[in-house]
């Protein structure tokens, strides 16, 4: 801000300087809106090029189902990153929670007709299984939070550690084998069902996203999450119980992994021990792509929703257009770097003496 145009107003407490408003509007646009604009653009381009395939109700609902589980994981991750942390353990916590809850449901409902069949457990058993998954996820998250706050180990290391521990523990529970006998109701009604033409999995994700947005943007819990990520020391001096806040934020991320676990077993009709190794990177890229700053203190749920959708739309569009899907991986890497770069530029433009 030391250029010639701003120099005639050395008084920092002077009235508004109108000349910067254009620049601000521009940086506001690249800051907030560009990633949303990119998503709209992608959808438009693919819809125009292949209206019959891309814009078909079937394809759109497949896209939404593909996004649902990642979105749920990304909601918790948004809180963690806004609070200045990172959670690499989400995929493993999902696996552990799904194994544990599947075993609980199996134990309660008795053996299936055959090894690959479903059980005829009722909603009561499914509810217990769901609570098990949520509780196990939240517990892993709380462990992350406790280690970050009380042992003062960097979150990257803590969650890398629990990533291994949760996955290993899941394999110990089942000798490395997936649990395939799941309640029929869970698989068919939640995993494959829809209400008013909207897949239940998508409904769950949308409700979770709305709740997360309310929590992050309208409540004191959310405001304090921003405060802690923005300046931990200032928050502590202001009397905010910083440790409790951080523990709750990690527990929330674990909770979202637990919800993801239920959705995953319902959708695939099996636990998926080997299927979530890359979830953390997918989820973290989505959150960052959505404008949440890795330095903490900045972020939004709406941005995260867009950030989750972009890679999925891109992959789908490429497949439909016949572009080798490997290009999606390359493009996503580039878009991610671009997103973080723009975040840096934005901060540099904003930060003053």
């Amino acid at each position: 801000m030391d250029d010639l145009t701003s120099r005639p107003v050395p008084d920092a407490l002077a009235p508004p300087d109108e000349r910067t408003s254009l620049r601000e509007r521009w940086s506001g646009w690249i800051g907030g809106g560009w990633i949303f604009a990119l998503l709209i653009l992608l959808v438009l381009v693919f819809s125009l090029l292949r209206p019959a395939q891309f814009a078909s109700p079937y394809n759109l609902s497949m896209l939404a189902i593909n996004a649902a589980i990642f979105l749920v994981l990304s909601l918790g991750q948004t809180f963690v990153i806004v609070a200045g942390g990172i959670d690499l353990s989400v995929g493993s916590v999902l696996v552990f929670s799904s194994i544990l809850s599947a075993q609980v449901m199996l134990a309660l409902s008795g053996a299936p007709a055959d090894t690959y069949g479903t059980t005829n457990a009722g909603w009561g058993v499914i509810l217990i299984g769901a609570v098990t998954a949520l509780a196990s996820g939240a517990a892993w998250g709380a462990v992350n939070g406790l280690l970050v706050t009380f042992a003062r180990i960097p979150p990257l290391i803590v969650t890398l550690g629990t990533l291994g521990m949760a996955l290993g523990a899941a394999q110990i529970l089942t000798n490395g084998l997936d649990v395939r006998a799941l309640p029929d109701l869970l698989v068919n009604v939640i995993g494959g069902g829809s209400i008013a033409h909207i897949p239940v999995l998508v409904l769950i994700a949308v409700i979770a996203a709305v709740l997360a947005a309310i929590l992050l943007h309208l409540t004191r819990f959310g405001l304090r999450t921003f405060a802690v990520g923005s300046n931990t020391e200032a928050s502590r001096r202001a009397g905010i119980p910083v440790r409790g806040q951080i523990i709750k934020v990690y527990a929330l991320s674990g909770l979202s992994a637990g919800l993801g676990a239920i959705m995953s077993t319902a959708r695939f009709s099996t636990t998926t021990i080997g299927g979530h190794a890359m979830d953390n990177l997918t989820v973290i890229s989505a959150v960052v792509l959505g404008g949440t700053s890795l330095f903490g203190g900045i972020g939004s749920i709406a941005g995260t929703v867009v950030g989750v959708l972009i890679p999925i739309v891109l992959l789908n569009g490429f497949v439909i257009l016949g572009i080798p899907p490997f290009w999606q991986t390359v493009t996503m890497g580039a878009v991610l770097i671009l997103a973080v770069w723009i975040d840096q530029l934005k901060r540099r433009a904003r930060d003053r003496g």
Partner: protein, 257 residues
Amino acid sequence: MSNSPLLQAKGIRRRFGHVQALDGADFTVHAGEICALIGDNGAGKSTLVKILSGSDQPNEGEILLDGQRVTFSSPTAAQAQGIATVYQDLALAPELPPSENLFLGREILRPGLLGRLGFVDRAAMRREAALQFARLGVRLRSAKIPVAALSGGQKQSVAIARAARWASKVVFLDEPTAALGVVQTQRVLDLIRQVRDQGLGVVLISHNMSHVLEVADRVEVLRLGRRVAQMSARDATVERLVAAMTGGVSQPEPAHG
């Protein structure tokens, strides 16, 4: 300025290993005055302020608030008794707007059920913040931009306004003008006067003697962990202050205070 002291420290001792940072230090501040606390590097100013604001505990000595003996086990405990501190490193959340910084840790909740569910009332916080800034003559470009986008002087003003908002008795300012240019410094000094005029006791630590003479009502000088002089700012000159700080002239302590 009332005559009975608002906050008083008597015979404070604080030792760090072999360093006797405070060696029986006394200190007094009254309501509605700006008291400058000066002294050479290492004289013990920051240590004394930490003790008086609850960040540190003395080995010996007593603190009186409104004539009552008090102990501050933590900054929060001191804050609860009406004492706020503006730290040298500001302690603002740069990503949050000024209003949310003003209410950091003391957010206004919405009335009724929503409030009990933990919903915050950002509009009310903005309104209250605007009132507080207006009261103190702090002008900000926009209530919604993050603090990081403010100038150094504006940030300092937000920090001071916050301290003044929550302190009912004493505000400590540790070198509030250290990193500021001429015009911004004047604004902050004006703001400090405003805070005093609200009836608070203001303790100003500064190495800048001309700022001290300009804004302070009274000066207390610390040397080697002891109060070696206290004088009305009217009687003070740069030469006298420097002499007291360096021990050039020993200043007998007046009986009162």
